[in-house]
Symmetry: C2
Subunit: 356 residues, 2 copies
DNA sequence: CTGAAAGCGCTTACAG
DNA sequence: CTGAAAGCGCTTACAG
């Protein structure tokens, strides 16, 4: 008796529709009808098939069915994040999952780690498994490698950063406006020597936030001091060191704009180490957990991460439902939330409104 | 001319091996050999096939190949987390991803949200897509629904909480020992009225941590006061309220053991609201971000989340590689990291060592 | 209402 | 070294 020979009608491998058909004495097609809730099967046969399926604990093979099915859908999407473990990425993941779950769609997630090779490899791995769509926080500056896939009809939505050399939907934050508001807030509290500490200028969000900083200074007729602009900061440790150096300048800044959450954390540590956290103002872009428990609380510019994730998923599913209108770009506002650190007064005159 | 008719040899649908074969003038089987780097194909044919594949931008369909392939592997695993957005879950996800990536395996991740129906549904969704293995942080108290799948040969590893009514590998934290050490630490600093604030007793980790609290009190001959034991706390808000109430007792606790990170956060807020954060000692189980920036810093019992994730993934892949030894249970120590809040002295005599 | 045949995109098991 | 036939587990397109 071979390994696959049935024992008491129970096969010795994972049961298939063939096994259910054999046990219930109907054709394969009838089993398929019952499993897929197609109408027009007699109650008697439905009962026999269900009973056999239960006895065998039959679980339909979705990958086989989507291979043959005319729509070809796998009920699977792929999510390329910066790093699944960082709070921005995981909040995005969560928001997308909730929308996907309602549609019976399951999510592949992976980290790109700001590495364009990983981005390509991960996208290829998802495509090889025939995901129905992709949601991408891109790392590289060339998404043309996705052009064929897009022509093949796979919808894709970019989040946080727009695609480059590829026409596709995107859900973004108004980084420049948010940053301009943050710096204007500092100016209105009497600051003119304001430092800007940011990530690599090659990352579009970092570039836009720097532009917002510059715009606010320009509007207030404040000269830009290159000593106060520190870019290319890649970790909270690097940010801590950068702020330490800033504080030791002959004419140090009275306020700091930290253009990303890891940088904000480094800035907080540096200010505390120098015991300047009650003297030097700080506004950070992006959320940082538990800052309301710090003294002073930290003033932050918050992105609507959950809204962006939900919007990206809804846009993706709209495309999957057949919407082939022109490429969309949804921009979400970032909102300044005073916490204490951004309201520390500077040595220059303060203004009533943030509209300095 | 039909939609699928080739135009200049380029098909108007996603290219398949058939298309590559037609364009390069070889058989389907030869294309398969080249794509899979099988040996024994003449250099001439390899070149022709590669060239055709590139012209068409051919991307092999991994789901089709795994359907036919004798090992049936999809190079995909499923990860059931409590909530992809919480730091414990996402750190676990990250550690698992790193191991999986080295093996060309891609990860489905989903949130179970402490809901056993979601747990079953999500596991079924992964199984329907024929994942090679499952890593599960279970919510429910009956994993027998996975028994057939396990008999079908799908390896599965449980993390943080052991499986119930199912024999399977597990990677766990020594919750009781870690909690006992935490409470002993408080006792050694002069505390005897120590509150324990914890999650639902039905969650195994919460039950073990309560047991550790009880064990430490028993060993020190301290009577257990039911007023000081608050279980079933499900959010940081509930924890804040519970601690607020504890502080208003006629004979309030001088120290608090918070058995989970959300609870620790609630406890911090309640102590600050009552201005008792420099008087009442606090030790929390699980990591809480940025607590080193608080005043006082918070003493925590830390789990080795990254180690646990890596161990779970490695165990899973070992099983996938054919290891069918007996079920394993790996226990990771939790380690107490003093931060300040746990070293606030209580009114009773202090002891030299934690070995009170 | 039911089922036999063909085929989704690939690999297996052979034959030459 | 190369390829024609069969089949993975399903659905499609028919026929009865």
């Amino acid at each position: 008796m071979s390994h696959d020979e049935p024992v008491n009608g129970v096969p010795r491998h994972r049961p298939t529709m063939r096994d259910v058909a054999a046990l219930s004495g109907v054709s394969l097609k009838t089993v398929s009808r019952v499993v897929n809730f197609e109408s027009g099967v007699s109650p008697d046969l439905i009962a026999r098939v269900r009973s056999a399926a239960q006895i065998l604990d039959f679980q339909p093979n979705l990958t086989a069915s989507s291979l043959r099915r005319s729509d070809g859908k796998t009920k699977t999407i792929g999510l390329l994040l910066e790093n699944v473990a960082n709070p921005f990425s995981s909040a995005l993941h969560r928001a997308i999952e909730i929308v996907a779950r309602d549609r019976g769609v399951v999510v592949f997630a992976g980290s790109v780690d700001e590495d364009q090779t990983r981005e390509r490899d991960l996208a290829a791995a998802f495509v090889a498994r025939r995901v129905d769509g992709l949601i991408v926080v891109p790392a590289g500056h060339d998404q043309s490698y996705l052009a064929t896939e897009r022509r093949n009809g796979t919808p894709m939505v970019f989040v946080d950063r727009p695609p480059t050399l590829l026409d596709a939907d995107a859900v973004l934050t108004a980084n420049q406006v948010g940053s301009r508001d943050a710096v204007r807030h500092l100016i209105s509290h009497g600051h003119r020597r304001i430092a800007c500490v940011g990530d690599l200028a090659s990352i579009s969000t970092a570039a836009e936030r720097l532009a917002g900083y510059v715009e606010a200074l320009d509007r207030a007729d404040i000269a830009k001091d290159p000593d106060l602009i520190r870019q290319g900061i890649r970790s909270s440790e690097a940010a801590q060191e950068a702020v330490r150096e800033l504080l030791q300048l002959p004419d140090p800044p009275t306020a700091i704009f930290a253009s990303q959450n890891l940088i904000t954390i480094g800035a907080i540590r540096a200010l505390r180490a120098a015991s300047r956290h009650h003297q030097v103002a700080l506004v950070g872009f992006d959320d940082v957990p538990l800052v309301d428990l710090l003294d002073p609380g930290i003033t932050l510019v918050l992105q609507d991460v959950v809204g962006m994730g939900a919007a990206a998923a809804e846009l993706l599913f709209r495309r999957l439902d057949g919407d082939d209108g022109p490429t969309e770009r949804r921009i979400f506002d970032a909102r300044l939330v005073p916490g204490g650190s951004g309201e520390i007064a500077g040595p220059w005159p303060t203004t009533n409104a943030d509209r300095a």
